[in-house]
Subunit: 199 residues, 4 copies
DNA sequence: TTCTAAACGAGACGGTACGTCACGTCTTTCC
DNA sequence: GGAAAGACGTGACGTACCGTCTCGTTTAGAA
C-alpha cells in the first residue's frame, strides 16, 4: 500500500503561535495603514514571522484578508427577523455599515474586492466562498418574508444582489454615513412587492 | 503696471503628438494585456515618450485610464429615451454590460474601482470625476420618467445608486452575462413606482 | 504577545555567485565605458542581478567602485623597500601613474574623488576607508626610512599628504605622463631631510 | 537685487540683467546647497531666467562655476612678498584655506575639479584657463625667492605643483582646518633648497 | 530512544514598477 | 532677434514589495 499518500504523519505541527501572530499583525497593520499599506512583507516583520510561513498557509494576500474578516465575523451584526423585511433589512444594513465604518473591516472588504480584481480565479474564489457566506447570513430575512407571503421565493436572489450592490456602492465610494430615511427608501425598493406596474 | 502677475503665456505648447501617442499606447497596452499588465513604464516605452511627460499630464494611473475609458465610452450608443424607463434602462444596461464584457473595459472599470481603494483621496477623485460623469450620462433616462410623472424627482439619486450598485455587483463578481428576463426583473425594482406598503 | 525572539536561526548566506557576477559586471562595464558610463542599473542588467541586491551590499556607487579598485590594485606590485626612500617612492609612484594611465583606474579614482565632493558624508567615507587603505600601503616605505634614521617619525603623515597631493594633482589634471627626472626631483622634496634654514 | 520684473530689452543685445541675475542665482544656490545642489534647472528658476539662456552663454556647468569663481577673485587673498618664501607661502596658504573654508568658494573649486573629471576636454580647459590663472597668482612669491637666490628658477613649476597638490588634497578631503605649525612644516618641504642629500 | 520529516525563523535573491531628478534640446510667444 | 516659458525625450536614480529559494534550528510522530 502506502501508494499515493505516503507519509501519514511526522514532523512538527503547525504552530498556533505563528498563526495567531500573523493574523494579529495583519489586523493591526490594516487598522493602522489601511488596505494600501497592507504588505505581506510588513505583516511578516511585525509578526516576527517569516514570509515563507505566511505564503505556506495563505496562498495569497486575499486569503489572509479573507481569514481576518472571517475571524471577526462573530462581531458582525447578526440579522434578526421580525415581521417586516424592510425593518429587518434596514436595521441590519445600518448596523453593517456602522460596523464597516467604525472598524477596519470596511477596509478589509474593500481590500478583498479590490484584490480579487485582475485575477479571474480570485474573483471566482471570492464569489463562491466569501460572498456566498455573507449572502447566507442575510437570506433568512428574505426567507421569512417569503414565509409571510410578502414576496415570491424566486425573487430572493435578485433582491439580494441588489442589496449587496447597494452595500458595495456605498462602501467603495466611501459613503457609509447616510441619512436613515434615505437608506430606508432605497431598501424599500428592494423589498418592493409590486413587480407589475412598469411600462 | 500689472507687474506682479507678469505673464500671459509663452512657452512651447503641449504636443498633440505626444498626447496622442501616449493615449494610443495606453489603449493598445490595455487591449493586449488588460488592466493587470497596464504599467506607466510600458506605456512610456511604447509611446516613445517619457515617463515624466505622462506624469505631468496624468497625475496617476487612474487618471490616464479614466481618460481612456471616457473617450472610448463615447463610442457607445448614448442612452435613448422612449416612453418606458424600464425599457430604456434595460436596453442601456444590457448594452453597457456587453461593452464591459466584450472589451477590456470591464477590466478597466474594475481596475479603477480597485485602484482607488486604499487611498481616500483617490476614492474622492473617482467619485467626483469618473463616477459623476457616468451618472450624468444615464440621468436623462430618469429625468424623462419624472417628466412623464412615473416617479418623483427626489428619488432619482437613490434609484441611480441602486442601479450603479447592481452594475458593480455584476461587474466585480464577473457575472456580466445574465439572462435578460432576470436583469429586467431586477431593474424593474429600481424603476418601481410603488413606495408604499412597507412597514 | 511574546515580543521576545521566538526562534533563533540564521537565514540564507550571501551568494558568492551573485557577488562575483556583480563585481565582474562592474569591472567589465568600467573597462568598456569608463567611469562616465558606469551605472548601477547597467551593472545589474549585465550581472543578471537585481539592483536591490547591489544596493544591499554596496550602499553607493562609490562603495562598489572602491571595492573594484581595491581588488584590482592588489595586482600591482606592492611597494618594495630598499635602502633609499626616494628610490622606493619613485619606483612606486611611477608604477602607480602607469597603472592609472594604462587602465581605466585613473578614471576610477578621479571619479571617486569627484563623486565624493558635494556630500560631506561621502568625503568622510572616502577619506576614512579608501584613502586610508591606500596610505597604509605606502606607509612602510616611510617607516623604513625612519628606521634607517633618514627622517623623523612624526613627519611621516605630513610627507605622505604631500605625496598624495602630488599624485592627485597629476591625476586630476590628466598629467600622468611625466619625465622621470622631473618626477624624481619633486619626490626628492618630499623625502628631503633638511627642515631647517627657512625663516 | 531687483526683484521687480526684469527684462527691459527687446532685440538684439545680450541682456546684462539676465547675466547678472544668473550669476547671482548661481552664487546663492551654491552658498545654500553646495555643489551637490547646484543644478542649472534651479539656477534658471531662481534667476527668473530660461535654461536656454544659460546654455547659450555658458556652454557647461563648469563654465558657469568658473565665472563665478573668477568674478570673486578680487576677494581672493593677494599674495604678498617679503623676504622669506616660506613665510609668504604660509601666510598666503593659510589665507586661501580660510577663504575656501569660510565662503562657498571651497565648494566652487571642489565643484570645478569634480565637474571637469570624466570629460577630457573639460580637464584641458580647466588646466589651461582656471588653473593657469591661479598659478600665475602665486608665481611672484617663487620668483622673488629665485631673485634672492634661495632656489633655482627651473624648480619653480615643480614646487608649485606640489603646493597645488597639497591645497587640493586638503580641499578635497575637507581638511582645511589645520594646525599652523603642521602646515608650515609641510610648506617648508616645498620651499626646501636642499635637493642633494637624498639617498 | 532514536530517527526523520515538517514547520519555522531568517533572509538573500531576481524581478517589476514605481515616482523623481536633472539633463540638454526643442518650440512658441513676448517684447 | 534675444529672452522668457516650458514641453519633451533621455537616462539613471533609489525604493517598495513581490514571490521563490536556500539555510540551519526546533519539534514531535514513527520506528
Amino acid at each position: 500500500m502506502t501508494n499515493t499518500p505516503r507519509r501519514t504523519s511526522a514532523g512538527a505541527k503547525r504552530s498556533p503561535e505563528a498563526r495567531a501572530a500573523i493574523t494579529k499583525a495583519a489586523r493591526d497593520l490594516l487598522a493602522e495603514r489601511g488596505y494600501r499599506g497592507f504588505a505581506i512583507e510588513e505583516v511578516a516583520k511585525r509578526a516576527g514571522s517569516a514570509k515563507t510561513t505566511i505564503y505556506k498557509w495563505w496562498p495569497s494576500k486575499s486569503a489572509l484578508l479573507g481569514e481576518i474578516y472571517a475571524t471577526e465575523k462573530d462581531i458582525l451584526p447578526r440579522p434578526t427577523v421580525t415581521l417586516s423585511l424592510l425593518d429587518d433589512l434596514h436595521r441590519h444594513t445600518a448596523g453593517l455599515w456602522r460596523f464597516w465604518n467604525d472598524n477596519v473591516f470596511g477596509d478589509v472588504v474593500r481590500g478583498l474586492i479590490a484584490e480579487a480584481q485582475g485575477d479571474p480565479q480570485q474573483v471566482e474564489i471570492f464569489r463562491t466562498t466569501f460572498l456566498a457566506q455573507r449572502l447566507a447570513a442575510v437570506r433568512p430575512l428574505f426567507d421569512a418574508a417569503v414565509q409571510r407571503g410578502d414576496l415570491s421565493a424566486d425573487s430572493i436572489d435578485e433582491r439580494m444582489e441588489l442589496w449587496v450592490g447597494l452595500n458595495w456602492f456605498h462602501l467603495l465610494t466611501a459613503q457609509l454615513e447616510v441619512e436613515p430615511q434615505r437608506l430606508r427608501r432605497q431598501l424599500s425598493l428592494i423589498c418592493c412587492s409590486d413587480l407589475s406596474g412598469h411600462r
